[in-house]
């Protein structure tokens, strides 16, 4: 197992190097002048020359790439051209928004999708099955941004004044705020140190912060703001998970050992939920892992619609404003997340199915 993990990590290195190079090259191929994109149309040539020199953008691309690699290995990811702040600071502010949104969408997708798939498979070809699958097919066919806009219209405008009214944008009602965790817990931390980044990151996951510090009013407010974006983002994964659970469970339910389980007089729920479901979960786990891409792509759109400044929105804004440094680091983080999730999915096979041996 350990040797398998090590080998997988080693195999990921060339892919990560490739990713580094592609993001680096793509960021520099974006037409337009980074100086004027950042400093405005009216920056003089003199100012721009200084700007370009200061950020090392006048050197040939291979040199720039070598310098960049050297800096990364020292943990120096550079400063955002647009915000004039370290990218890592930007990341610890905005990644929590996307992590919170993505996780709640995924949790929603799993806790609704899997039961829907089980129900559909168990009552195969019944009205429930046809209805669920029609819903699931519609779910995967809806554009995320359209669903988001429609949900915002229904819950923020049509249901205004009712108890199920939900806010259409932002993370919290203005005026409400949560103190960072290190302030609540009176921990002395130095800005820029390891513990500080971890605590700052966790503090910015509003629901987590409010939950562990007992700010119940803020927690409820943050959750209310999270529902619509999470539903919009989670619908496609939910539908995909439901379909995969159904087809995988159907296949397993037709196997001999399920018949054996029934023949020896086990109760139906034990046959389906304990014997069949466990083996049917293998492809479902893969599909859940694969949703990361859908979630991150969808995050750009969801964050745009619901006015959240997360990774997706920041990345999109940085691409259009040619903030190379942010584009590079944010894509790198996403790609590393991808590689890690794929590894976790492969490892989960061994947990779900003892017959799978990793070596």
């Amino acid at each position: 197992m350990t040797s398998y993990i090590i080998r997988r990590l080693l195999l990921a290195i060339p892919v990560l190097l490739g990713i580094l190079f592609v993001t680096f090259a793509l960021a520099r191929m974006i037409p337009g002048d980074p100086c004027r994109a950042v400093l405005g149309e009216h920056a003089t040539d003199q100012i721009c020359d200084a700007f370009i020199k200061r950020h090392g953008l006048d050197k040939p691309i291979p040199t720039q790439f070598a310098v960049y690699l050297g800096e990364i290995t020292h943990g120096d990811f550079g400063d955002s051209l647009r915000f004039q702040r370290p990218v890592t600071a930007l990341l610890s502010e905005r990644l929590p928004v996307t992590v919170e949104l993505g996780l709640s969408a995924l949790i929603l997708a799993v806790i609704v999708g899997i039961p829907l798939g089980i129900i559909s498979a168990y009552w195969r070809n019944s009205a429930v099955d046809v209805g669920t699958m029609l819903l699931a097919n519609t779910g995967v066919s809806m554009p995320v941004f359209w669903l988001g806009l429609m949900l915002a219209y229904i819950f923020a405008v049509m249901l205004k004044g009712t108890p199920i009214w939900l806010p259409p944008s932002g993370r919290m009602t203005s005026g409400m705020s949560l103190p960072p965790l290190y302030e609540t817990w009176n921990i002395a931390v130095v800005q820029g140190e390891g513990w500080y980044s971890v605590l700052a990151f966790l503090s910015n996951i509003n629901t987590f912060n409010a939950l562990v510090t007992g700010h119940w009013l803020e927690l409820w407010d943050a959750i209310k703001h999270l529902i619509l974006p999470a539903v919009a983002l989670g619908t496609i994964p939910m539908a995909i998970i439901a379909r995969m659970t159904r087809s995988s469970l159907l296949e397993v339910l037709g196997l001999d050992y399920v018949r054996t389980a029934r023949a020896k007089g086990l109760q139906e729920h034990a046959v389906v939920l304990r014997h069949a479901l466990r083996n049917a979960m293998l492809p479902v786990a893969t599909v859940i892992g694969l949703q990361l891409g859908t979630l991150l792509g969808g995050a750009v759109l969801t964050e745009t619609i619901f006015g959240l400044t997360g990774v997706g929105k920041t990345l999109f804004d940085s691409i259009t404003s040619r903030d190379y440094v942010v584009v590079q680091v944010f894509t790198l983080v996403i790609a590393v997340g991808f590689v890690a999730v794929n590894l976790i999915v492969d490892l989960s096979y061994a947990l779900l199915d003892p017959r799978v041996r990793l070596d």
């Binding site: 892919v15 490739g18 993001t23 809806m142 554009p143 691409i319 259009t320």
Partner: protein, 313 residues
């Protein structure tokens, strides 16, 4: 034993029975029929758009004197005379948009763009992807390694984000958007093709060809490609659905088709701030996208089931 031989000869006699059976099965599935019907409807809308549309999709009603005389306003909600809309108000089946254009006509013309984007980008991706996959699978060795690692790098990015980056490099526009979507979907076709080639290339009929001195290119096109076509068709049909969704997202973000093109995603992007005041402007184009994508998804699922020889029916 005897029965077994009988069925074997029977299938042999029918010739191309896989396709025959698959089509028969396809037309028995309710969901596949639904998909084909919606798709057929969309194709008809796209082809006969000039006859179905009630107005010019890019014409502002402010330039039409009769409409102005009847007191039209921008973002007027749908007005259908049959459903009780007063006769003195001009009929607009889906209302008017922010530039006082007839939304119904724009939605109808939108079918053209979505279908075009879907077919063009997936066609491009299949051509490049299957070529790369075929070469990698057939030659093996370092070529295979380089090509497939390259595909891994492409797959390590969320498709939509990579497409956004590519469009920014190429410049916004409809053609560049579909190129970008084509590029990001190359890896999935390369993988499908490579897997098919690997499964076929050691089979006896290919070895026989090679022994006879048939050129590699001919083996590739005449022996290997026909065997790989089934998974490509399934993947391609489902791929069109994803391509249409991604293209709509790019247009929504302002990177795809540019206004006043009546593309559904562009229309949604232009009117998204009006959702609270004039929801019809957001509702109808979205329904268009959803139905088109749904039709390809249903058809793709149906084809996969129909062409899967493992399923007994």
């Amino acid at each position: 034993m005897q029965k077994h031989t009988e069925t074997k000869t029977q299938t042999k006699r029918k010739g191309s029975s896989l396709w025959h059976d698959a089509m028969r099965y396809l037309f028995r599935q309710r969901s596949a029929i639904l998909g084909m019907s919606i798709l057929g409807g969309m194709l008809l809308l796209a082809i006969f758009a000039p006859f179905i549309a009630t107005h010019d999709p890019t014409l502002s009603m402010l330039d039409v004197p009769e409409q102005v005389a009847m007191g039209i306003k921008r973002r007027l909600p749908p007005c259908i005379h049959l459903l009780g809309c007063p006769a003195e108000q001009p009929q607009h089946l889906m209302g008017l948009d922010s530039n006082v254009r007839d939304l119904f006509s724009r939605v109808i013309y939108g079918a053209r763009y979505s279908l075009y984007i879907g077919f063009a980008s997936v066609g491009f991706a299949i051509m490049i992807g299957s070529l790369l996959g075929a070469v990698a699978g057939y030659l093996g060795g370092w070529v295979d390694n380089v090509v497939m690692r390259l595909m891994d790098v492409l797959l390590a990015f969320p498709a939509l984000l990579l497409a956004i980056a590519i469009v920014t490099v190429l410049g916004p526009g409809l053609v560049n958007a579909l190129l970008a979507i084509g590029i990001v979907s190359i890896p999935s076709y390369a993988r499908v093709m490579r897997a098919s080639v690997l499964s076929v290339k050691e089979r006896d009929f290919v070895t026989a060809d090679r022994a006879l001195g048939v050129p590699s290119i001919r083996i590739l096109f005449h022996r290997i490609l026909p065997n790989a076509i089934t998974p490509l068709i399934v993947q391609g049909t489902l791929g069109i659905a994803t391509a249409i969704l991604d293209a709509a997202a790019l247009s929504f973000l302002g990177l795809g088709a540019q206004p006043p093109t009546p593309e559904w995603g562009t229309m949604l992007g232009a009117e998204r701030n009006q959702v609270f005041t004039a929801p019809h402007l957001v509702f109808f184009p979205g329904i268009g996208i959803m139905l088109t994508v749904l039709s390809f998804n249903l058809l793709g699922d149906g084809l996969r089931d129909a062409l899967d020889p493992r399923l007994n029916r």
